[in-house]
């Protein structure tokens, strides 16, 4: 068994051990818990930097591999590895966790040690999802994530938190357990849980179709795609700010990542066969859910629906690649589609995380998320308003922000397939602009509408730091996406090459 590096193991277990430490050592001392959690999250981020610097982006293969026998009796391995795609998502995770810890500094007063511990454990499990190259190990991390999130929403959430967290848990559990049956089925044929072995397996068209739908249930609920998205608005609305940020910025990405790692390489023929279905669902998500977002009265709900619409771009980009292969064999455009999805995932991580943090900042001051309770915030909170407007622009996909890059690539790829699909997708830019700008108009601009708004204080340095870091991510990615695309370039090419393999 090989072991190139223990970096990924360290990244998984360090936050988990840190979480245990915070929950025990923090005790009732809230400040000690906060500083400890911050130290752990910064340390984990520092440990994740060598992934970026040490990665040979030109090769695009799995690197930093580590493999040990886990359960010899059933052939499961503790196999970790990362390619460009995983590394981008792992860095997003470690970065966002710092901001979540910082963001909760003054917002959470109850059982701070447990709150911080839950987020650190969650961080370790999410990194595990992106690093696992063994299907059983992947599943363990994928499901294990639900436990801390369930607790986070349930303890520190809003008034309807119990309903929301049960719905979140049961909904996602429902999807992934069908995926488990699919994985067991694959294991019984391949006699291995290794992803590379599962990818190499020859499967008939019928087998692939069944497996495709098993995976679809698991990942579509996680993404979430229309029409299985209904858990998300509830979970987002009731979750504490940190929970919403992690949910939107990283957990949703795990669905997209799952499609990329499991559905595409393992059942390519079925993906090709059912690409129309996913494309249709994605277009519905983009258009219909966009309209739904327009009429929301709760800020968090609006952003949650906008997340569903934006994640529609991710699934559209992934599956447009299949349609392209079938129609024209246009590898270049297919590659653009997958690459665009990936950029969109990272970008949406920053933008949605930032938007939810902004709502959290307002909520801490006013204890309401209703749009109608606000108005003219710019008069009392000018700095905050500047950040909010920047993130809103990114949410509409304005050129120069990260939101533009991914959407543009996906629309470009769709155009190669069918101008009408591209038109449908592009239409979202208008709806997106409509609901986002209208939100800005009602909350930020205008005269001060009530006394509560008049008494608002502007953001403090800590909040400015959190929002500033998000803003830096949004702008750097928007102006200069080259480092990110270069990081994922070869890995995406590698995945697109796998799409050409006909297995049945």
């Amino acid at each position: 068994m090989t072991s190139d590096s223990i970096l990924l193991s360290l990244l998984i277990w360090l936050p988990i051990a840190g979480g245990v430490l915070v929950s025990i050592a923090g005790g009732a001392n809230a400040n000690r818990s906060r500083w400890l959690a911050l130290a752990v999250s910064v340390l984990v981020f520092a440990v994740s930097i060598p992934l970026l610097t040490g990665y040979d982006a030109g090769a695009g293969t799995l690197q930093f591999q580590e493999s040990h026998v886990w359960i010899a009796a059933i052939g499961a391995n503790y196999h970790l590895g990362a390619d460009g795609i995983s590394i981008a998502l792992i860095l997003l995770t470690t970065f966002t966790t710092i901001l979540v810890v910082l963001g909760a500094w003054d917002a959470v007063h109850d059982k701070v040690n447990q709150y911080m511990a839950a987020f650190l454990v969650l961080e370790g499990l999410m990194i595990g999802v992106f690093a696992a190259m063994d299907a059983l190990l992947f599943y363990v991390f994928f499901e294990g994530m639900l436990i801390p999130m369930f607790v986070i929403i349930g303890i520190w959430g809003g008034p309807r938190r119990v309903y929301a967290t049960l719905k979140f848990f049961l909904y996602t559990f429902f999807g992934s357990i069908f995926m488990l049956i699919g994985l067991i089925y694959l294991y019984l044929h391949a006699h291995s849980w290794e992803l590379s072995q599962l990818t190499a397996l020859h499967l008939s068209a019928t087998q692939q179709a069944w497996l495709f739908f098993a995976f679809l249930l698991g990942f579509a609920i996680k993404v979430p795609m229309w029409p299985v998205h209904t858990w998300l608005p509830d979970a987002h609305v009731e979750a504490p700010t940190g929970g919403s940020v992690i949910l939107a910025a990283i957990m949703l990405k795990i669905g997209g990542y799952g499609f990329l790692r499991f559905s595409l390489p393992i059942v390519p023929d079925a993906c090709q066969q059912f690409a129309w279905l996913i494309i249709a669902l994605s277009i519905i998500a983009i258009l219909y859910v966009g309209y739904v977002a327009l009429v929301q009265e709760d800020m968090k709900k609006l952003i949650a629906y906008s997340s569903v619409a934006h994640m529609g771009f991710v699934t559209l980009g992934l599956f447009i690649a299949f349609a392209l292969m079938r129609v024209s064999g246009d590898t270049q455009a297919a590659y653009l589609g997958v690459q665009g999805s990936m950029v969109q995932m990272i970008s949406h991580g920053f933008v949605s995380g930032a938007m939810f943090t902004c709502v959290g900042v307002l909520y801490e001051r006013m204890h309401t998320r209703m749009i109608a309770d606000y108005g003219g915030v710019v008069n009392t909170m000018p700095w905050f308003a500047a950040f909010w407007v920047l993130f809103s622009m990114a949410n509409c996909g304005l050129p120069g922000t990260s939101g533009f890059v991914g959407e543009f690539m996906v629309i470009l790829a769709s155009f190669a397939m069918n101008p009408w699909i591209a038109a449908g997708a592009a239409f979202t830019l208008i709806i997106g602009a409509a609901y986002t700008l209208w939100l800005v108009k009602r909350v930020i601009w205008g005269e001060v509408t009530n006394d509560h708004v008049a008494k608002l204080r502007d953001i403090n340095p800590r909040e400015a730091l959190v929002l500033g870091l998000f803003a830096a991510g949004v702008l750097i990615l928007g102006v200069w996406p080259e480092p990110l695309t270069h990081l994922m370039d070869a890995s995406v090419k590698h995945i697109v090459d796998q799409l050409l393999v006909v297995k049945s």
Binding site: I71, V140, E143, I155, L170, L180, I181, I184, L188
Partner: protein, 484 residues
Amino acid sequence: MNFNLHDLIVLAPEDFLLGATCAILFIDLFLKQSQRAVTHWLSIAALLGTLGLVLADHDPARLAFNGAYIHDTVAAVLKVFILGIVAMVFVFVRRYLAERKLFVGEFYTLTLFSTLGMLLLVSAGNLVMVYLGLELFALSSYALVAIHRDSGVASEAAMKYFVLGALASGLLLYGLSMIYGATGTLDLAQIRQVGGVGVNGLAQHPTLLAFGLVFVVVGVAFKFGAAPFHMWLPDVYEGSPTAVTIFIGSAPKLAAFGMAYRLLDSGLGSLAPHWSQMLAALAALSLIIGNLVAIAQTNIKRMLAYSTISHMGFLLLGLLNATPSGYAAAMFYAICYAFMTTAAFGVILLLSRAGFEAEMIDDFKGLNQRNPWYAFVMLLAMFSLAGVPPLWGFFAKLLVLKAAIDAGFLWLAMIAIGMAIVGCFYYLRVVKAMYFDAPADKSALVLPQDLPLRWLLSINGFALIALGVLWGPLIGWCYRAFGL
């Protein structure tokens, strides 16, 4: 048939336990109530001594008493866990018994005799031995359920348990007699040889054998508590003192697995295609009834009783595979289940005090605020029972699902996972009560200074997560027991 003194050495663990139990029974007569702790510690020492004898025995598999007693690794693994769990149960229940004036020698001697019955059951090599072991176990546990003589509920539970248990024993005995009639032998290994011929129509009474099989399956299903033979289980769980429930809910499941393995594989293995269909029906019913009815429960003991029914459905998924890897999966499941049960009931025991039984789900409200650590242990037990990774319970479910799909029962696996989602709901309700609800009584919880219980319970809870991450050695042991 000749009696060979050497055979007794093969039975060294059972001999020792029998001797020790009789000695404890005798010593206990001369103890004052204030000295009852002696019985407690002697009983634990007896179990650990027996455990040591089982572990020390590295001899290869062999038979004793003309094949009536089988000494093999399957029996050894089951015995190790049965003895260990019963010893753990003794530590868990001491304070509970003392606070209810149930801290009496009878509890210990009855439990020890019951344990002896289980040891004989899992080593049984012929039909008579199966029946003897089963009855020794069952009769002792009927009495245990009724140990709280003044409690009407407990007496009612004991009566139900006894009547239904006697009925099941009768059915089983009837089935055994048919098998004896059809094959002309009581020895399980010989039944397997003759029975194999029976399927091919060469034996004289294939129909009789098939009928015998049906009755045996009913008897086994009753001992597991698999639906539709589960009626006794919720009442017994709820009605018994929690100290007895934790015993009945844990180790006997291992013994039931041992009995099923001996009868169905060692004895009627040639009829596997038939009984695996029957077990599939039982499993489907148990999964559906157990999980759906558990939703409606407000009493946590009763909820766990229905959850037991569903877990036995899962266990049957492994058994019906009828291959060594399926049996290993089922055995792994039984071991895992026993530890999850002791953790869950352990927390109930810890929270109970004189005059207060923490048996309603509402009694767990806000536990996280009053005592975060034991709330966390209960959380681990609940998520493990629900089968969420990375806890032990998930991997047990994974293996039995794999066994079922491997045997071609994909439809059953689909029912199982559908019901696992339902199961999640009621386990999460306990977590919800502990973590999300405000406690009725805000004061910090004064836990009894019962350090053995608190430490062992913590270790038990921790084992659910440790064995979830590192379950390789244990499943390796189970696989080796079945020659894989």
